[in-house]
Amino acid sequence: MESVGDHVPNGLTGVKSNLEIVRERFKEDEIILYLFEAYQIKGPEDANRLLALVSSESGGTFAIISFSFVRTPLTSVNELIVNKVFAIDESFQLQQDCKGSITAYQFDLSTAEDGPIKYYFYPSESASYEEFVAKIISCKSSMARSDPETVLNFRWLNDYRQIGEVKQELKKRESEYIVYKDIIIYCATWNVNNKPCCDSPDGLRSWLGCSERAPDIYAIGLQELDTPAKAMLNSTQVQASVAQWNEKMVQSVHPDVEYEILQYHRLVGIMLTVIVRKQLRQHILRCRFKSVARGVLNTLGNKGGVAISLQLNEGHICFVNSHLAAHMGYVEERNQDYNAIVDGLRFDDGRTISDHDHIFWLGDLNYRIQEPPGQQRPGPLTDAQTYELLLQYDQLRQEMRKGKCFEGYTEGEIKFRPTYKYDPGTDNYDSSEKQRAPAYCDRVLWKGTRIEQLAYNSIMDIRQSDHKPVYAVFRVKIKTRDEVKYKRVQEEVLKAVDKRENDNQPQISVEKTVIDFGRVRFNEPCMQDFNVYNSCPLPVDFSFKEKDIHDICEKWLQVDPRKDSLMIDSARSIRIKMVADVHTIRGLLKKIRTSDNFDILILHVENGRDIFITVTGDYQPSCFGLSMETMCRTDRPLSEYSQEQIKHLMNDDSQEYCVTMPREFFLLIDYLHKQGSKLEGGFHTFEPRKSVNAHFNVVRDWLDTWSDEEFPGTPQSAAQALLLLLDLPEQALLEPFVEDLLACNSKSKAMDYIALLSPPKRNVFMHLCMFLREGIECQYYELHQVAVTFGRILLRSSECKAWPDYKVRCSQFMRLFIESDGADSLANRNEGAGAGSKADLPAA
């Protein structure tokens, strides 16, 4: 395996190593610490994985990214598909599993979100596995060493998670459409000393209108707005005051262009207002605010910071206005306030202050001038040298040098008098008893790229507060999309993504789309196998899709497997079994009547196309399952018919018949009649749909060939064949009058309906009854059992089945026709057997 340091190329120059290719997948400040080749077991196969241990400089965190890929060595970065992302945080765990059943070379990775996911590695990789684990452990421990209070930043990982492909691609090609546009940002801060907003129309113009070019964005911070006590208690008064100040600010900004307030936010007496050019507003895509309260008990908010975060085009800008702890000696408290704001401030989208491209920090930071020994209070100083001297003792600069606060921030040169503390209404330093030393309390600092300060000054002629207002003007180059170029890149990306999606669609190919069973015979199962291959560079899941029959296939088919996974370059055999037996023949014949095939299966590829598999064959007609009418239309043995011919006969609804009753039926009755008492147990023991074994097929062939041979089976098998012959057709023998017949209570009434049956059915029924009655009279069969068995077959009905006395009625009906005394009425037996019934009997 390759590690970053000792990478050896594959020997061929110009061929990129896996590491180089994987590196292309990451951003510049993300470093691959280790690349480890492992695999996962998916279905019956292995799936290769590349695990990249990556450190992000911007995030300051580590993660493992698991890629799936088609082949190694890789040829292009496009072959890598992010398969899983593990952030190495407190919850991250690497568990070595030695008890595994497949191999000892395995481990689990888990995080709070995902847990445990198993990876295997090849024994040849054991050495690099040790190295990989060692690197992970060192990453994890370096995480643990960092301040437990810090929240780890894993936002960089979002680019590798389920983020839209288009976004990722666009991000990668950013340089093709990003331009930098200059904007002017005007930052201003003033501690207003709880004084009300002044009334004069131009009151703040001298503070806010100091830039030559009209600024694009103003960030104006006020401190000690009203008194803290009032702020807590009287909200309407505070609102009025806030509105007054904001109104005044908007009035006082640069007069050349129109402005509006984008957002303001207040924490007790600390308020930050962001005012933007009206035209700019449509380019501001996001704006959020947040505050961190400090001050009394670190919660009351008389000190603290408020911040507003906004996105202008592609640039993220943050403004912070803070009022830090006061008094000369409280340097450490000021540092703490600063750190509390930096650590505690998190906008609703998760962004922290440091997650911005351009940060401007303004406010009454309250850092004082550590009075130099022997140095007099500065008088009306105006020359740069004196400022320089004073600033040597400035606590903020001292603390910054020590790295105690404002790390990474810059402040422009100060060429103005200390802004604190004045006797209100004058330019004189504090003349009260306290005689507070003057200080540069009010500051503007910045952090970030492409920022240039144009001005930094205080305003002496605004005198109502004990602080002088301060302002700073910046020119900032904001990342901006060139819309035309962006549109072009976006179109290209969309096209590429579409193409990749269509090209990477899982594909399988099938050996054949028509499965032909050839000759299919009743009660003889047969099988066909066919292969499916994975014909794409991805693992594929396939399944047979459920159809509107609520199954994947018709009842006479069985498919195995119904679903499976196919690894790359692999194939799978699928077996289809066709069973035309007593359970399925009814449906199959119905299908044959309307269709040329036995079924069409839908082979579905997960996230891909569907393939129709047509199942066909040549069903060899047999008497079983055919209606009496169809059989009466045959003029030769059924074995001499083709599927097509029998389909034709089944769809024939003419009244012309070749015989009055099916020969097959007649032959069975004739045989059973001759056997007489040899049918032991009569008909009552038969469950015709069960126990139809292969021996039965000789009976089938005897019937279907109109054989002249002796009956090849036993009386029992003849009885079974008879029951099946009557039971298997789609329609019960006495349909469509079953319901009417069940409601009849006299034989003569029933005969009215029987007369309406089609001639084949009527003849079969009458012939059957005559045969049964004789058998009962001769005591070959038992009346009750015969009535029950045949009643349920001849009067089979899914509708009437629900009647509570259905079974009783069925057998009562049968008794009307098979009882030897020929009783007619169930209530009063006063009529003999219908003479007409004998006359109807056909000559077969």
């Binding site: 501001i284 999309r481 082979l603 196309r609």
Partner: protein, 243 residues
Amino acid sequence: MAVKMSKIRGIANKLHERIDCLIEKCPNMTAAPYNYNYIFKYIIIGDMGVGKSCLLHQFTEKKFMANCPHTIGVEFGTRIIEVDDKKIKLQIWDTAGQERFRAVTRSYYRGAAGALMVYDITRRSTYNHLSSWLTDTRNLTNPSTVIFLIGNKSDLESTREVTYEEAKEFADENGLMFLEASAMTGQNVEEAFLETARKIYQNIQEGRLDLNASESGVQHRPSQPTRTSLSSEAANVKDQCSC
């Protein structure tokens, strides 16, 4: 002391919350992990050999597929398009036209937001069968499904058997959108797919298509941060396309 402090902290927090509530103005624009705002499902139907697969291929790949094999099953293609600044992913199901698959392909109509019904202008029989395809479509899709009639192979003028006027009349009578197109030259192919999407989008905007209905054929994705300004959400709703 400890009790007092927690009390004060509670009050302070509540006050801050209230202030936050009062001042919150900006719409919540969180990034969504999707490439698109909507998914529209299309089906392509019509007799065998009218060029359904070729139309799909021309639309997704901008290429003509000569010697296109018979579709035995249902092919699947996607493309992301833009309508009214919204990204729409078209999920197109190209069905087998063979008569024997007719029953099976019926199960694919469900949930289609758009149906492209194709005939071949050089074979009258494919045009004559349209009414049966239309019956299927009407029976198996929901009333708001947009049906677009395409007379394909418009490049084969010399062997034309169905005039534009005749088909146009059929389309108008049945309230179908209609174009003659050529999968070979690409003429009008893009238009047919895009016009259908615009019509579906318009139906959504005008409330004729219920996105919550399981069979609308449209899936909505939370919007991604596109180049919309703070106040343009309202503008977008007003802005109707003019198709």
